[in-house]
């Protein structure tokens, strides 16, 4: 007997995917046959990697690999529980202690991911009668975290302290708590939030400050200590949020700040309370990453040497590399179609760098976003640069 169903509950899955495909908006996932390395095997083709966040090449560092293996041997493959019940291992606590020391803050807390940190903590920091004030170009995970709050929201112009002050002046009269959130390093342009000025202004208004330093951690500040160290305001940003998944070469979100913040955060963040804790191998690698940063300053140094060389050479070829202050170097092409074309051609020539097109950036500012890696040699960079030059000329960009 054929059953007549009221509705097809799964039809939308295919319909919506087909619609994405039709509009060329679906993700075509590239697969790496190697690890994430300066030279990676991508979809069966060797290419120079210019679009990973593995800035310091720590994901391949022998000490991190060893740290992971030893932790797995000692503690096993999984943690058995959420942190709050029976999943906090000694090694988790060790990472937090070492991280706070590295960040020069009173305390720290590890989250499962950076996204879990933002979407778990932000909704707890503000509620009804409060306001969150965000830089207009903040990352999506912050936006989602803010959406989960009952607080009102306002945005200020990108890196514009004057505009922030206007919003604060208006908010001061109307709200109980004020939370200012900004990315530390903005991932599209590689520019840095003026956190020193933001903190100063926040103090005047009694506002809390929260920075997402995902792209600054391990990259800026003394020995890669992040944005607090970059502006010499360690411990003055109320919440320094970051990640182990980029320059640290592992995975996991983090916050650093006061003990009060950490006590509050682990008791209130639903993402932290309701997800399993990191496998020991992850924590072992995190611990080793901090070790490496503290004892081997050459990685950060090399990242910046590479960055300066790469930027200088691109500029001298005539490319517009924007206002980046970090190892994220945009190669501004202009037209979106051209940026996509250049990215494809680069990949064919053995250079992997993604195009960033409208509406992520302004219509006439489509670009190839390159992210430097400390593991690239001068020869590697010269190879990539020569491809940029040849193709840039071919496409009349330079």
């Amino acid at each position: 007997m054929t059953q007549i169903t009221k509705r097809n509950p799964n039809k939308f899955l295919k319909d919506e995917f087909d619609e994405l495909v039709k509009n060329h908006l679906e993700w075509n996932i590239r697969v790496l046959q190697s690890g994430s390395k300066p030279h990676s095997m991508i979809d069966g083709k060797e290419a120079i990697m210019l679009c990973s966040n593995n800035y310091l090449n720590l994901s391949n560092h022998p000490r991190l690999v060893k740290g992971a293996i030893e932790a797995a041997k000692k503690y096993g493959a999984g943690s058995g529980s959420v942190r709050a019940i029976a999943g906090t291992l000694q090694i988790h606590k060790e990472v937090e202690k070492r991280l706070a020391k590295f960040k020069r803050t009173e305390s720290s807390l590890i989250y499962q991911t950076g996204f879990a940190a933002n979407s778990g903590l932000i909704p707890q920091l503000v509620g009804e009668g409060d306001i969150v004030i965000s830089d207009e170009l903040n990352h999506g995970s912050i936006i989602d975290g803010v959406r989960l709050t009952k607080a009102d929201r306002a945005i200020f112009k990108h890196r514009d302290v004057g505009d922030l002050e206007r919003v604060l002046t208006d908010a001061d009269k109307k709200y109980r708590r004020i939370l200012i959130i900004s990315d530390g390093v903005f991932s599209m342009d590689g520019d840095i939030a003026p956190m020193d000025k933001i903190v100063k202004l926040a103090n005047e208004f009694g506002a809390m400050t929260y920075v997402d330093d995902a792209h600054g951690e391990g990259v800026i500040g003394e020995d890669g200590r992040g944005i607090g160290a970059h502006f010499h305001i360690e411990g003055k940003i109320d919440v320094e949020m970051g990640t182990f998944s980029k320059a640290f070469g592992v995975v996991g979100g983090l916050i650093a700040g006061s003990q009060d913040l950490v006590n509050f955060a682990y008791n209130k963040s639903r993402t932290w309370l309701l997800s399993g804790s990191h496998p020991p191998a992850v924590s072992g690698a995190q611990l080793a990453a901090i070790d490496v940063l503290e004892t081997e300053p050459e990685h950060v140094k090399r990242l910046w040497e590479n960055t300066r060389y790469f930027k200088k050479e691109l500029s001298s070829m005539g490319f517009n590399t924007g206002n980046s202050e970090t190892p994220i170097t945009p190669v501004i092409v202009g037209d979106s179609g051209k940026a996509k074309e250049l990215s494809n051609m680069l990949f064919d020539e053995g250079v992997f760098a993604l195009p960033i097109v409208f509406p992520m950036v302004a219509k006439d500012k489509a670009r190839i976003r390159t992210m430097m890696n400390a593991g690239l040699t001068k020869k590697d960079m010269d190879f990539a640069l020569s491809k940029f030059e040849t193709l840039g000329k071919k496409l009349s960009i330079i």
Partner: protein, 380 residues
């Protein structure tokens, strides 16, 4: 598929301006007498030339136009060949009737877009015939250009047209504004909102992935604004709300099941209509009855006016009584893209000063989401 673009020039538009007239609609002979030269044909041709330099496959387009100065001539001089002439005005073109008659024919041509060259008067004449049936885009050439259908310059108009054709821009609301003729004849120069046409707008984008964005329609943004206003109505349950004119407020009212006058002001108390299309006197009476009142406004037209254009009932006396702090301004991001600056011209210097002192206004752009926007007073 071939896009069918209507093309209509009001050849006399803009002639009054240079000789000090506030339009050319009824004073063409006088304008000529004062030595006025045609403006619109040149502007139309300029826009077309700019358009031809942009990357659009011209063979995918068909220009449906009118004979002579009303379109064909400008197209030909700019170098456009794929033209279809559907209307011949016959004789000298001097009146709004020519525009309207052409529109009656163009309306039947299955157009994707109607591009016209003129000013507010032309926009109004076109809108009176085509209504919401065809989206319209104006090449600015008139004396008055308050309507939201115009590009800022011929260059930007060409760019908008190109982006519409390659489907990067979408269709949304655009207000048609013009002088209030009755008041103008009494010597007052006040701009009224005449209706809401379909125009071309920038979609709003939201980030959905690390490096991917999804565009959302203007209506989705307005849904958020409606949610916001709903919350406000509940939060201030013992306040009177004045819903002002314009398409954004109209949409919000509809979402809240409040019957709203698109072109006028309605008074709402506890989600019920207590005054429909009220005039200044009626508002003042309501304000006596409801001393706590909030004014719900949205910029209308092309120049970002929130007060002083299109909502004449909001006299200085009304605004003073309500209080500047009780004005809620809502706007879609796409509207703010066109008008990054809000303007106030209440006609009362001291009141304008109150706004000027603030310098900025918080504008609601989404559900419980706002941003500051620069405010300019008395500038027009």
């Amino acid at each position: 598929m071939t896009a069918r673009i209507g093309f209509l020039v009001n050849p006399i538009a803009g002639m009054g301006g240079r000789v000090g007239l506030k339009g050319t609609d009824d004073v063409f002979d006088k304008a000529v007498e004062l030595g006025a030269q045609p403006v619109a044909p040149k502007k139309a041709e300029e826009m077309l030339r700019e358009f031809l330099t942009l990357s659009v496959k011209q063979s995918d387009l068909l220009w449906v136009t009118c004979d002579g100065d009303m379109g064909k001539k400008e197209c030909e001089q700019a170098g456009i060949t794929n033209i279809q002439v559907v209307y011949n005005p016959g004789g000298k073109i001097t009146s709004a009737e020519d525009t309207k008659n052409a529109c009656k024919i163009l309306l039947k041509q299955n157009l994707d877009l109607l591009v016209f060259c003129g000013g507010d008067g032309t926009a109004r004449d076109i809108f009176s015939i085509v209504g919401n049936n065809i989206p319209i885009l104006g090449i600015p050439a008139g004396v008055k250009m308050h309507s939201g259908v115009f590009g800022v310059t011929t260059t930007t108009t060409a760019k908008i047209l190109q982006e519409f054709i390659v489907k990067r821009l979408t269709i949304g609301d655009a207000e048609i504004m013009d002088l209030d003729e009755a008041l103008y004849r009494k010597g007052e120069w006040k701009v009224r909102l005449y209706g809401v046409a379909r125009g071309i707008v920038e979609p709003t984008y939201i980030q959905v992935g690390k490096a991917s964005y999804e565009s959302i329609t203007d209506d989705e943004v307005k849904d958020e604004l409606a949610e916001h206003v709903k919350d406000e109505l509940e939060k201030y349950s013992d306040w009177l709300f004045l819903f002002c004119a314009g398409s954004t407020i109209e949409y919000i009212a509809k979402k809240l099941n409040i019957e709203h006058t698109l072109l006028g002001i309605d008074a709402v108390y506890q989600k019920k209509l207590v005054g429909k299309d009220v005039n200044e006197q009626q508002i003042l009476t309501l304000l006596k009855q409801y001393p706590k009142t909030k004014l719900l406004l949205s910029p209308i037209g092309a120049q970002g006016f929130i007060l002083g254009r299109g909502n004449l009932q909001l006299s200085p006396a009304v605004i003073r009584k309500i209080g500047v702090e009780n004005i809620i301004v809502v706007a879609t991001s796409s509207k703010l893209l066109h008008t990054p600056l809000l303007r106030v011209d209440t006609g009362d210097k001291n009141l304008d000063c109150l706004f000027a002192k603030q310098g900025y206004l918080m504008v609601v752009i989404g559900y419980r989401l706002s941003r500051v926007v620069k405010l300019q007073t008395n500038s027009y």
